[in-house]
Amino acid sequence: MAEGHWTAGSHEMLRVSECVWEIPKTGGMRVPGRVYADDRLMKHILKEKAVDQVANVAHLQGIVGASLAMPDIHWGYGFPIGGVAATDPAKGGVVSPGGVGYDINCGVRVVASKLSLGDVRDRIPELVKRLHRDVPCGLGSHGAIGKLDRKDLDDLMVEGAAWAVRKGFGTDADLDHTEEGGRLRMADPSKVGKRAIERGLDQVGTLGSGNHFLEIDVIDEIYDEYIASAFGLEKGGVAFQIHSGSRGFGYQICDDYLEVMQEAVRKYSIELPDRQLACAPVESPEGKRYLAAMACAANYAWANRQVMMALTKRAVAKVLASSEAALGLRLLYDVCHNIAKLETHTVEGREVTLCVHRKGATRAFPAGHRDVPDAYRAVGQPVLVPGDMGTCSYVCVGTGATMRETFGSTCHGAGRVMSRAKAKKMAAGRNLEQEMSDRGVFVMAEGKRTLAEEMPDAYKDVTEVVDVMERAGIAKRVVRLKPLGVVKG
């Protein structure tokens, strides 16, 4: 074992095991911090202020166990990205919009198919161009399915992905393969402000920009034959990934409620080390209102990804002159990365309802858990971990340890190591499209800077991140996806 002790800013980090580090309680921390990383990843983590942010989150009222950070942790605002925090509402536990983020229910879904590499190898540019045309992307993208009226948006906020299915975008089977069935029941449209509604009316079915993407992949490695087969995945098979969230609708709700929480912090005399952590007790009127509005945005994001999936399936069928059924296009699973949810967990031998914040983290419920759909219950919920656009992504599965150690959570992606500004500098003078093409990936990007900001060098190696979760016993790899074609916003 290498070094067992680090100092990060004003905090000590003590090694607990090969891939687990503890930040002991100091000052106003109510619980310790716990970071999942090996020596290599720790070097990245120590370069920025993420450790301080893990410690800051440990100040939240009612936090249970530890303030957690997954190995893809990086410096965010308020919460670190890759942070998990569970609070106990019965003990004054708080909910913090900053612990969810602006892009509420940003998440990813994987669409599996009967296609094999040979079926699409020569058609990738054509497919990417068609997807780029049919799924609106880029800044402020809109108009995928026509502007909704207020009644439709109200229904969508309550029904989530089921709304999209009802409108002809997909089937009921898709809902079963979506976290929470694609709908949080605590949604209440009366808690959503006018501005969010205005921004939400014409963005359903749009990708947006930044790190959002639509990708064509080939399954190039199987790590667990049994589970892969339960997921219906085969080596050489083609899959599609869609990564997006609740668009301007969610950003506005987060913004509006951060304002509400600024007041709540005064009202309830909550002391915080960072204003961006503003929060209110889950059981307070402000906490309940936020969760009801946040659920509307979560449902919006699920409807958004459901519509995009339908547009993707249609586009693929069109290009390959076939039908969606013949191509066997089906939703493997859809997970959220940015969310706060009321979930049942066992704490000190007792079942309790906790408010679990996942900010850049994925739910990873293991085999046998009642919230895992029937089709996967024997093996566990598929956990989708996208990497950067030039490397690879993983489909993993949670192990029993997630429930004991991480409130049923694991990592959500590669995690940035380089600022966007630095990435742009590094990309200057390079032909990134050509570099990606040399790697066998055809890319179309809407924003001029997106390609530079999102280049593989800007991210940690997703393989190292997933490897740490595996060595820590939290999640195991099932298959690897290698990108063939990418649409970036």
Binding site: E48, H74, W75, G76, Y77, G78, I81, G101, Y102, D103, G138, L139, G140, R195, E198, R199, G208, S209, G210, G248, Y251, Q252, C254, D255, L258, E259, Q262, D274, R275, Q276, A278, R416, V417, M418, S419, R420, A421, K422, G447, K448, R449, E453, G489
Partner: protein, 147 residues
């Protein structure tokens, strides 16, 4: 066309930030708005044919809150009207009383992707590491945005 304002782009791993200075508090707010839009699209490529007005309410004696509300309001105008803004003139800034208030005249140009090279999408102005401080009449502002 407006001139591009002077500011430093802050290196932040996941997001993007700006640091700027101005003489006077109104000027600091106006310049922060200009810098924010310059992060989205070079300000010297944005016209000013579109005119509007905004009114922002915030908590009194809380400049951080005023700054976040002000920038959020402008991002909302940008996305809801699909207008890139290039010019900001604060006509009234009342920091006292129970609520603070800013009134401003703004100008810009509807987004035209042929003409405007969009550099980045800003989701929101955050309170994280937010600074707005005066030192002998010079105001220093630092804002991190979620991108």
């Amino acid at each position: 066309m407006a001139e591009r304002p002077e500011y430093t782009e802050i290196d932040h791993t996941a997001d993007v930030g700006m640091a700027l200075t101005a003489d006077g508090v109104e000027a600091a707010f106006e310049k922060a708005a200009a810098c924010m839009f310059d992060l989205v699209c070079d300000l010297d490529t944005i016209g000013d044919g579109w005119r509007g007005e905004v009114r922002v309410e915030a908590r009194a004696e809380d400049l951080q809150n005023m700054m976040v509300r002000w920038l959020s309001e402008l991002l909302y105008v940008f996305e809801s009207k699909r207008v890139l803004l290039s010019s900001f003139r604060i006509t009234e800034m009342d920091k006292g009383g129970i609520r603070a208030e800013i009134r401003a005249e703004i100008a810009g140009e509807p987004i035209d992707l042929e003409k405007h090279a969009i550099k980045t999408e800003l989701k929101a102005a955050t309170y994280h590491d937010l600074r707005i401080e005066e030192d002998e009449g010079s105001w220093a502002v630092r804002v991190i945005f979620d991108t």
